[in-house]
Amino acid sequence: MTKDTTFTRRSFLKGGAVLAAPLAVAVPAAFMVNDEWKARLARLEDEVAVRELHHAWMRRINTEAGDAATPLFADPEGTCFNQALRSIAPDHAGQPDSIEIAGDGKSAAGWFHCTVEIETAIAQDCTLARMAHAQGGGFVRRTERRVLKVEYLKASGVWAIAKAEFPNGFEPATSGF
């Protein structure tokens, strides 16, 4: 099950309550709370890092900057969608983004409700289609709501994308971003 990582006033209050606990409990308990706090802090930092990685990847997709220098993928070949995918935008009518960090802090998964713009080239098998391509067109675009699932790996303290897919459609392909 995914976890909603959107920060709320309640989540901060909960953290504050844990932070205040050492004032009223025995020392061993204070150490325990401190470890718990460190773990939580690390998890939050990981979530922020993963979110930044995701945003960087989205910028790369939406600006078609496929050759950007900063590596985002665990595999140098990258995780690629079919080139028919033109853009991915947050679906504000969908569920909030969700990022779940594994217990060992070495992997993570994210679920992002989004709208994807898909561009399909029309076949150049008639004069009109050839003319459409000749003027820089010849594509059919459509926008669909999808859930993007991304798996992340952390190596040497750096997060990278291990795998990305649209579980309910839109097949990954071998070239693209």
């Binding site: 399909t120 098998d125 008639c126 004069t127 009109l128 289609a129 003027q135 820089g136």
Partner: protein, 579 residues
């Protein structure tokens, strides 16, 4: 000269000379000194003046205008050069042109004296693989005024001319119909030069000076390469401009002209309301820096597969396809054809043509027929049929085994007992795989049906001047402009709904019933296709068949589109033979 000056070859058939740079330079050397000719008195609006034109991302041009149409020009602070020029004025606009001596370059300059804004066309030859094709780069700027700040406004590309059409008569007697159905191309009919049989297309620029005055250009790419530009006053319907290029006999045309015209109408535009942007077709692909003068030019003859008769016979023998599956070649063109009819299944009849052998038919089912020329042996063929209007059925089939690999696109009106057929065939004179067509009229001989003795379907001009858009499938939308009784033009839209590239070919229109027209067009010197459609103005849907031979073989495929009326030009009067 006696009679209408029909050309020996239409523009798309002329083998224009591949002029060398030396030949071009030699011919330009004289006019660089003399300046352009003019049938009208030239304007002295610039005589005795000195001006400096500053352009954005372009040259700074300092001019001193002397007497007798002489000027000196300094480009970008270089040395002064003397040249002949010609100037004309219209409303607030002054226009002049000159060549640069010793080069294949020149300029055409439009100045708005009210605003001091300028549009400068740099023109040159030998910038493309065909040296005779005039190249152009457009610079926007202003005339420097001492003590004044440079204006921030500029003339701009626009779609405000899109959809308009005019009849123009130049001061030298040249008469044309000129249509601007796209914001990137234009379509023109040479009435006086070529007799007005066919219309042709060329890449064009449209630039706004103000709400009344616009600049237009056209380069006759794929043809003579001649460049035309003019400023037109849409209200007064007057023009001043320039023609530069080599005609079919390689004679240099370099003249300025004045003209008057008639407004012919306005077609619909399909951009979003509020979109007045111009130049909808980018000069290059995204991310590429356009070279000087770059523009998208449709050059169909260069990419057309050209087969000999032997090659045609071979490819036809190798692969012949009639109405391939919905995903096959050309399938998109039939995306909105609507359901087929099985009305013909089980029927038997003879189509007795007035001007061709009678054809006998036995229809096995909704997709299989047997045909024979009367008394000959039967041949089985795949067909498809659509009932466009009650009692009117269009069907098509290939005539396997005929010497020229014929295909018939047939409309039968079983209420009237009439038939019309566009008989496509190959092995035509220019390229063997380019389709030709014969139009056959006749009657249906069928049990229970008595056809008329004299009445026939007939060629009509009722569609001439109309524009009709066709949506064949998602992403595949075009518009037909029926610009002459013998040709039509097709326009491709951009994603924004602007008219983009455009081309044209010979055509004919047959009236089947009121609001129902059977028409063909030939994509000559393009890809050789014969397109046939039955246009129903009541339902605004067309159905038809395409007949094509290329390296991949011979095919007949379904065509069908949802249509919209886009307007009509009042032009049939220009095509009447008068006493």
């Amino acid at each position: 000269m006696m009679g209408t000056p029909y050309p020996k070859e239409q523009m798309h058939r002329i083998a224009y000379t591949k002029l060398s740079e030396r030949q071009i330079a030699d011919k330009l050397s004289t006019v660089a000194v003399s300046g352009p000719t003019s049938a009208s008195p030239l304007s002295d609006v610039f005589a005795g003046k000195s001006i400096r034109i500053v352009t954005d991302k372009g040259p700074a041009l300092a001019y001193t205008f002397g007497r007798a149409n002489r000027l000196s020009v300094v480009e970008n602070g270089g040395g002064a050069l003397e040249a002949g020029y010609g100037a004309l004025a219209l409303s607030s606009v002054a226009f002049f042109s000159h060549m640069i001596p010793g080069t294949e370059r020149g300029y055409a300059v439009v100045l708005d004296q009210d605003t001091n804004l300028a549009t400068v066309f740099e023109l040159w030859f030998s910038g493309y693989q065909d040296n005779r094709e005039v190249q152009r780069e457009i610079y926007y700027g202003y005339v420097e005024q001492a003590g004044q700040q440079a204006p921030t406004a500029r003339h701009v590309t626009t779609n405000r001319v899109e959809g308009k059409g005019f009849y123009w008569k130049q001061d030298n007697g040249a008469e044309t119909l000129e249509f601007y159905p796209t914001a990137a191309y234009s379509h023109f009919v040479e009435l006086s030069r070529l007799g007005g049989e066919l219309g042709f297309c060329g890449p064009s620029d449209y630039i706004k000076i103000n709400d009344d005055l616009f600049i237009y250009t056209r380069t006759e790419c794929e043809f003579s390469g001649t460049f035309t530009t003019y400023v037109m006053d849409l209200n007064r319907v007057e023009q001043i401009g320039l023609r530069l290029g080599f005609d079919a006999n390689d004679r240099l045309e370099y003249y300025v002209f004045r003209g008057k015209g008639e407004w012919l109408g306005q077609l619909a535009q399909f951009e979003k309301f509020g979109d007045e942007s111009g130049a909808p077709v980018p000069a290059t692909a995204a991310g590429q820096t356009p070279a000087k003068g770059a523009r998208r030019v449709y050059r169909p003859l260069r990419t057309m597969p050209k087969l000999s008769k032997t090659e045609v016979d071979a490819v036809v023998a190798k692969k012949t396809t009639a109405f391939a599956a919905a995903t096959g070649p050309g399938a998109l063109m039939g995306g909105n054809r609507g359901p087929n009819t099985d009305w013909l299944a089980g029927k038997t009849f003879t189509l007795r043509y007035d001007n061709a052998p009678a054809m006998e038919y036995r229809f096995d089912d909704a997709e299989t027929l047997n045909w024979r020329k009367e008394g000959d042996t039967w041949t089985k063929a795949r067909y498809q049929a659509w009932e466009s209007m009650p009692g009117v059925i269009l069907f098509g089939h290939l005539l396997e085994g005929t010497p020229n690999h014929d295909g018939h696109s047939i409309v039968v009106d079983v209420h009237q007992g009439l038939v019309s057929c566009f008989n496509g065939y190959l092995n035509t004179p220019y390229f063997a795989n380019e389709a030709g067509v014969k139009t056959l009229f006749g009657v249906i001989e069928m049990e229970g049906l008595t056809p008329p003795k004299y009445r026939r379907h007939y060629f009509t001009q009722e569609m001439v001047g109309r524009a009709v858009s066709q949506n064949y499938a998602p992403g595949l939308t075009s518009m037909h402009l029926y610009s002459t009784p013998h040709s039509l033009s097709w326009i491709i839209f951009t994603d924004s709904g602007a008219g983009g590239l455009e081309w044209s070919g010979p055509a004919a229109y047959v009236k089947i019933r009121d609001g129902l027209y059977f028409m063909y067009w030939l994509e000559e010197a393009c890809n050789g296709t014969l397109g046939t459609i039955l246009v129903n103005l009541h339902t605004m849907r067309d159905v038809g068949v395409g007949y094509h031979c290329g390296a991949e073989g011979l095919s007949m495929s379904a065509v069908g589109a949802h249509e919209r009326l886009a307007g009509r030009f009042d032009i049939t009067r220009f095509y009447q033979v008068k006493a």
